[in-house]
């Protein structure tokens, strides 16, 4: 029995360049990057050296403070380079990949009979544990905890996001295995939120042993944090775990074939992509190897040449990895859009700006509800203090007062942060607030700061 939850707040930004439902190619990068910076709040400890041979599933580095958690190489090959930044911060481990991937064979227990400890052991030693995130904070889960429940959002509602009903359509069996695995880790059950509109074709629709919820509404309805908040909000002292559907497919493969296979189908989308489509690849794939999809035409906006921004992830929450970067561990897409480094004469006062979308009705984009827009990275204004503060509430379907929470974070008031719901949000949940903010405040940075403070204080 599916329970239905209607969310009335939110916004689907009409971004041009959605991926067509076809898989263009299987991308095999010569070099694959594994990046400790993908894991929030992690202090990595390197286990390999340049020149070491590794297999898919070999642990490259571990969490210094929780050494049982390892992070694995998705391919086999040799460690080509260890890239470090300022103060020798570990940025990236580059693995030169073999022609064919050689997987470590893990001994996996029978899921039905296995204990929670046995399951955790396999997940930890294979490196797949990193896929398990915890709320509060959105960091890699602590294997010593028992979560109140595990939540999965079976759809991504972000702009141009991949359609999981398409990318995971053949993975239903693996996902069922993963559900059984997850059920071992919590007594609270596995909650799955599907898109109410398209649930019929979802590989999650016929799962057993899950608590199924249908969500309808605009983005961020697909954010797992929003779903948790509307099903059963996280209270002080509670921990829930979350996992992305594409990692459930990987868990299924781990427990059926005994391999660490995080190959995924990602969308390559955005207005600078010639023919937006899907490709299969592993995390750490070089953006260069996707570049053949990007249009080589020069783009001028107001007679000023604008380059491309390569984003691992979606345009709201992804990271700017650049043309030389690689796909992040948790990313399910690559977005390529125009840089907005152009001047626009009297832009703010023009009555019509046909090429631009606005949530506010102070522009006329509400007249063309079906239109899709070529977005770019222009800030469209200058940073100011909080002035128009009621606009955030319109895009945040959570029982939270965002401005008060943000101000508590800015004031470093830990008690207030806790009272106002810092445990219930991570950066992505407030990304739309940041998008609509007329004062151009970097809200996700503020949330990050709050979470970092809480982790430090609660340790």
């Amino acid at each position: 029995m599916i329970k239905h939850i209607q969310l009335n707040k939110g916004l689907d930004i009409p971004v041009k360049g959605a991926a067509e439902l076809r898989i263009e190619k299987n991308i095999v990068s010569e070099v694959v990057s594994v990046k400790p910076v993908n894991f929030k709040n992690l202090t990595p400890k390197l286990l390999v050296r340049e020149g070491d041979a590794v297999k898919a599933g070999s642990i490259l580095f571990i969490d210094k403070y929780r050494p049982e958690i390892g992070f694995a190489s998705p391919v086999s090959g040799t460690v080509e380079q260890v890239v470090r930044g300022e103060k020798r911060k570990l940025l990236e481990i580059r693995v030169k990949a073999d022609q064919t991937t050689d997987y470590i064979k893990f001994n996996t227990p029978d899921v039905v009979k296995a204990s929670a400890e046995e399951i955790k052991k396999v997940l930890l030693e294979s490196g797949l544990w990193a896929a398990m995130k915890q709320r509060p904070y959105g960091i890699v889960a602590n294997p010593a905890d028992e979560p109140r429940a595990i939540f999965v959002s079976a759809f991504d509602s972000a702009p141009l996001a991949p359609d999981y009903n398409f990318t995971l359509k053949d993975e239903a069996a693996n996902i069922q295995v993963a559900v059984d695995v997850l059920n071992k880790l919590t007594k609270g059950g596995v909650y799955v939120g599907v898109n109410a509109k398209t649930s019929a074709t979802s590989p999650f629709n016929h799962l057993k042993n899950v608590k199924l919820y249908g969500f309808s509404g605009a983005h961020p309805a697909g954010n797992v944090g929003v779903q948790i908040n509307n099903i059963a909000p996280i209270n002080k002292g509670e921990i829930v775990w979350t996992i992305d559907p594409m990692f459930m497919a990987a868990i299924g493969k781990l427990f059926t074939k005994g391999i660490y296979d995080v190959t995924r189908t990602i969308a390559v989308a955005g207005n600078r992509v010639e023919k937006p489509c899907y490709v299969t690849c592993v995390p750490g794939t070089q953006i260069k190897d996707l570049d053949f999809l990007v249009s080589k035409k020069e783009v001028e906006i107001f007679d000023q040449e604008c380059g491309c921004r390569y984003i691992s992830g979606n345009v709201l929450t992804g990271s700017n990895v650049g043309a030389e970067g690689s796909l992040d561990f948790y990313s399910n897409m690559v977005s390529v859009i125009s840089e907005g480094n152009y001047y626009e004469m009297f832009g703010w006062v023009k009555p019509m700006r046909f090429g631009k979308f606005s949530f506010s009705k102070s522009y006329f984009s509400w007249l063309t509800p079906k239109k899709q827009y070529k977005v770019d990275t222009n800030l469209n204004g200058g940073e100011r203090a909080f002035v128009v503060s009621d606009v955030y509430g319109k895009v945040l379907p959570m029982d939270i007062y965002p401005v008060y929470l943000l101000k508590a974070i800015l004031a470093d008031d830990i008690d207030k942060m806790e009272q106002l719901g810092i445990y219930e949000v991570i950066e992505e949940d407030l990304a739309l607030c940041e998008y609509v903010c007329p004062s151009k405040i970097n809200i996700q940075d503020i949330v990050s700061k709050g979470i970092a403070t809480m982790i430090k204080e609660m340790a």
């Binding site: 700017n320 800030l379 909080f386 029982d399």
Partner: protein, 396 residues
Amino acid sequence: MKSLLNFVEKIKPTFSKGGKLSFLHSTFDAFETFLFVPNTVTKSGAHIRDCVDLKRVMTIVIIALMPALAFGIWNVGEQHSIAFGLDMSFIEKVWFGFLKVLPLIIVSYVVGLGIEFISAQLRGHEVNEGYLVSGMIIPLIMPVDVPLWILALAVAFAVIIGKEVFGGTGMNIWNPALIARAFVFFAYPSQISGDTIWVEGLNAAKANAMQVVDGFSGATPLGQAANGAIDFTTTTGEPLTLMQAFIGTMPGSIGETSTIAILLGAVILIWTGVASWKIMVSCVAGALGVGFLINGFAAPETFAAVPAYWHLVLGGFAFGAVFMATDPVTSAQTETGKWIYGFLVGALAVIIRLFNPGYPEGMMLAILLMNTFAPLIDYYVVEGNIKKRIKRSTIK
């Protein structure tokens, strides 16, 4: 456009850090961003941003003020022509009003923006757009005969004490425009009260013993009420109809008399979502609720017995409810809070009007008072959210 852009680019280093005129950085920046939406790109967080910014929001408010301004300009000429028995055409009235109102607007902007630029410069911030709106509102809530030096002082007081000491736009507690109005009212009571200040030329006429039309009185309806009259009259002594008050052909502050022009602005503000319809609606509800309640107990033939809906079309009620109570910075910021805040503004305005014989217009004080209490209202609304969170938690 290209050549202008090139010119701006060329002179930019002079104003940037290390340049000769770097102390004028904020000023340069303000003019640059006025001409061009800058080429700043997102550095962290969401890669794309909505194309609305504070400049746009403020522009919308200014557009919404235009009907009230236009009517006000015409009405200055209209009232003048009635007072002195002049036969003026529509164009002449508008031109007369324009010449009277324009200096007020210029003084307001020059003084206000001057202070904004200087304080942005001192702080090394970008110049904030907030004053663009305050600078237009302030002349509209002044009597047309206000001396320019008083206006300049009031603007300076409002911007410095009302806003900049708190940290600038977004940080202030009280609506800056109302601070200016309150300053004039309390600091220069002799220059800004009485029956002669609301119509251009009356003061001068009185001083020079010039001839005013027989039976002409410049008293506003609220002024008449304060003197105990309950049958409001027009300036020429005819009975004032509700419709006349609604259209606004009566003396008063420049922009406040015409409820219909203000409603046009309200439609723009509500449609664009720039101002909260909840505050406007609850403000009207508060005024009507308390007004009718008092009507029920009022002795006949007193101002308190005048039907409550009159309050909506008299004085600065409509202007305050639409343009000033809704200021997003100084009003309540929670959705529940807005209902309470708006209701109390409306209710208090009527109470002050009816029970404070010293001051016929209650709207200014009502809004300033509720500005003061808005954070308290929000505090209790947010506290409710906190209580809910604590209640469902097992660990306290």
